[in-house]
């Protein structure tokens, strides 16, 4: 038996959501399923900070080719997030701020630069990122 659908009243509320990605892609599925959570939040017109820390920076590495491991290549989906961000930036009627952030220290420890990523990101040092994190209202990590 399907239970009754329950809905909460969220009209007019905009919160600061942060999505923390700290895991490499493919070794585990967390990257893919966090991505799905980010996309759905756009429909609710919430603020979103998508941050890549530690091995999470590999999630947006250019040149992923999953043919030989026969897994779903989801790196193209980050392009959709970049588009959602553009929409949020351009639509002045919409109170929705999206940021895509890579932690500088994590990127550098792995020998990567901003050019290595499939999307445009803000590269931010840990002390500044800590301050941004501290302002969030919801942090979802996977």
């Amino acid at each position: 038996m399907a239970e009754t659908e329950i809905e909460f009243d969220t009209a007019g509320i905009t919160k600061k959501f942060m999505y923390v990605n700290r895991k490499a892609p493919y070794g585990t599925i967390y990257a893919l399923e966090v991505l799905e959570a980010v996309l759905i939040s756009a429909a609710f017109e919430q603020h979103a900070c998508i941050v890549f820390i530690d091995d999470g920076v590999y999630q947006i590495k250019k040149g992923q080719n999953t043919d030989a491991v026969n897994m779903k290549n989801f790196s193209k989906t980050y392009g959709i997030i970049a588009m959602e961000k553009e929409d949020a930036d351009e639509d002045e009627d919409m109170d929705m701020v999206w940021r895509i952030i890579v932690e500088k220290e994590s990127m550098e420890a792995r020998g990567l630069t901003a050019d290595d990523f499939v999307i445009d990101v803000e590269v931010i040092a840990s002390t500044e990122l800590a301050a941004i994190m501290a302002e969030q209202e919801i942090v979802i990590s996977g």
Binding site: T4, F8, I13, E33, E36, A37, S41, I140, G142
Partner: protein, 119 residues
């Protein structure tokens, strides 16, 4: 205060679901409201009614279902994560319901706090 909870792991391999359960129980005992527990990733396995732990071990599937019913906690299993992992209406334990990922965002907005338990 109103809480939302996200559980990312199943009922055996990681302690996440245990910790979440004890947190929810303690919150209710302190007079708080737990609006919804959202089961995502392998967390959907917490709703597999066929789970039969050893008799001297806890049964989290049953414990979650009872806690949900007794205290009116909405136990939601993510439909996309569940389909992949073979959790469907047929094997869904009592007290749980299957719904979309939007229900996670929704409880994040509606609750005062969202607490994540995972690996």
């Amino acid at each position: 205060m109103k809480f939302g909870i996200l559980v990312n792991e199943g009922p055996f391999t990681h302690q996440a679901s245990d910790s979440a359960y004890h947190f929810v129980k303690a919150a209710i005992e302190k007079g708080h409201q737990v609006m919804r527990v959202f089961f995502y990733y392998d967390g959907v396995y917490n709703a597999n009614k066929l789970s039969a732990p050893q008799s001297d071990d806890r049964n989290l599937v049953k414990m979650w279902g009872e806690l949900g019913s007794e205290h009116n906690v909405d136990l939601v299993v993510c439909i996309a994560a569940a389909l992949r992992r073979g959790i469907v209406e047929d094997n869904l334990a009592d007290g749980f319901r299957i719904s979309g990922l939007g229900q996670l965002t929704e409880v994040g907005i509606a609750a005062d706090r969202l607490v994540v338990f995972g690996d």
